[in-house]
Symmetry: C2
Subunit: 210 residues, 2 copies
C-alpha cells in the first residue's frame, strides 16, 4: 500500500509490472521448467492478462532470460564475503553462510539456474564463459594464496569451489526431496542452523582451515 495516492508515472507502472511478472515467472519456471511453463500460467500467478506479458516482454524467451540474469546477479553478490576475509576459515565459512541463506530465501532462482545449466545453458552460455569463468579463476587464486601461506591444506581449489556450490545449492534445488525426507515439512530455523553448521564443520575441518 502506498502512502500517497499520487498516480504512478508510466515508468513506475512499467517497473512495478515488470517486477510482478518477473517474480511470477521465476516461480513458474522453477516449478515447471522452461518447456513446461506457459505464459498463461505466469500471467495467472502475476494477476495480469496474458497479453500484458507480451507487452512488457516480447517473447517467452526474453522473459526467461531476464529471470536467469537476475539470479546470476544474486549469486555474484554473495561472493563479496569471500574476498574481504582475512583467512580461509572466515572467508569460506562466510561464503557457505551466504550461499545457504540464498538457498533458503531464493530457492526458485537456484532451481531455474540449475535447470538452465542442465539443459546445456542455451540462454546464458556467454555468462558461463566470461563472468563465471573469471569469477572462478579469481577465487581459485585467493584459495591458492591461503594454501601458500600455510593456512589450509593443499587441496584442489577448483574442486573445493565445486563442492561449495554443490552442497549449498543442494538445499535449494532438492528442497522438495529434503522436505519429503523431513516428514513433508520445511526445515525449521533450528534445522537450517544445523544444516549450516554441518556443512561448515565438515568442509572447514576437511580442508584444514586454520
Amino acid at each position: 500500500m502506498t502512502s500517497h495516492a499520487r498516480p504512478l508515472s508510466r515508468k513506475e507502472i512499467r517497473q512495478e509490472n515488470e517486477r510482478v511478472i518477473l517474480e511470477a515467472a521465476e516461480k513458474v519456471f522453477a516449478e515447471a521448467g522452461f518447456g513446461g511453463a506457459t505464459m498463461q500460467l505466469i500471467a495467472d500467478v502475476a494477476g495480469l492478462p496474458k497479453a500484458n506479458l507480451h507487452y512488457y516482454f516480447p517473447t517467452k524467451e526474453a522473459l526467461y532470460r531476464r529471470v536467469v540474469q537476475n539470479i546470476f546477479s544474486v549469486w555474484l553478490e554473495a561472493a563479496d564475503v569471500f574476498d574481504q576475509a582475512s583467512g580461509p576459515a572466515e572467508g569460506i565459512g562466510a561464503y557457505i553462510d551466504a550461499k545457504m541463506e540464498i538457498s533458503r530465501r531464493h530457492p526458485a532462482g537456484s532451481k531455474v539456474w540449475a535447470s538452465e545449466v542442465m539443459h546445456r545453458a542455451p540462454v546464458i552460455q556467454d555468462y558461463l564463459e566470461t563472468t563465471l569463468s573469471e569469477w572462478t579463476e579469481g577465487r581459485m587464486r585467493v584459495i591458492r594464496r591461503w594454501i601458500d601461506e600455510g593456512r589450509m591444506d593443499a587441496i584442489d581449489a577448483r574442486h573445493l569451489l565445486y563442492m561449495l556450490w554443490a552442497t549449498t545449492q543442494h538445499y535449494a534445488d532438492f528442497s522438495h526431496q529434503i522436505e519429503t525426507l523431513n516428514g513433508g515439512r520445511p526445515l525449521s530455523d533450528a534445522q537450517w542452523a544445523a544444516a549450516k553448521e554441518s556443512v561448515k564443520s565438515i568442509i572447514l575441518k576437511g580442508i584444514g582451515a586454520r
Copy 2:
C-alpha cells in the same frame, strides 16, 4: 550384430525396441526436460517412427516414468558398498567412488532425476516417501553406529548424506558448467581421478573417519 540370423521372437523384439526407446528418451528428457522433450524428437533419436513409441509406451508420461524408475534402481545398487564396509573411511569412500562413477557414466539419468525432484516429483513422489526414505534411515543408522564406536566425529548423519549426494551428483547435473569452466572439454581421466580424490579427501578428513 548378432552371431545368428535367427529371427527375433516377439518378446525379443519388444525388449530390444524398449531398450532403444528408453535410451533415447533418457537422453532427450535430460537435455530438454519433460515439457521441452517431444515424442517426435525421442523417436528421431531412437530411429523409429513416432507412432511406434506409442505402441510400446501408451503415453509420454508412461515413458518418462520408466526412465525415472530405471535411474532410481541404479542409485540403489550403488548403496551396496556402503553396508559391506567395515568402517566409515572404507564405506563412505567406496560410496563416493561409486556415485562419482555413476555421474561419469550415467549423467543423463542423474539430470532427469534432478529435474523430476526440482519440479516437486510429480511422478516419483511415492518412491521418495517409501523406498528413499527407508534407505536414508538405514544408512543413518549405520553412520550413527560408526559414531558410537568412536570411528568418526559426531556429525549429523542426515546432512552428511545430503553432502554426499550433492557433491557426487553435481558432477553429472552440472557437467555442462564444469566442461565450460574446463575450456569446453570434458574432464580427462586424470581430472576425474583428481575430482574423486578431492571429494573423498575433504569429506573423510572433515568427518574424522578413521
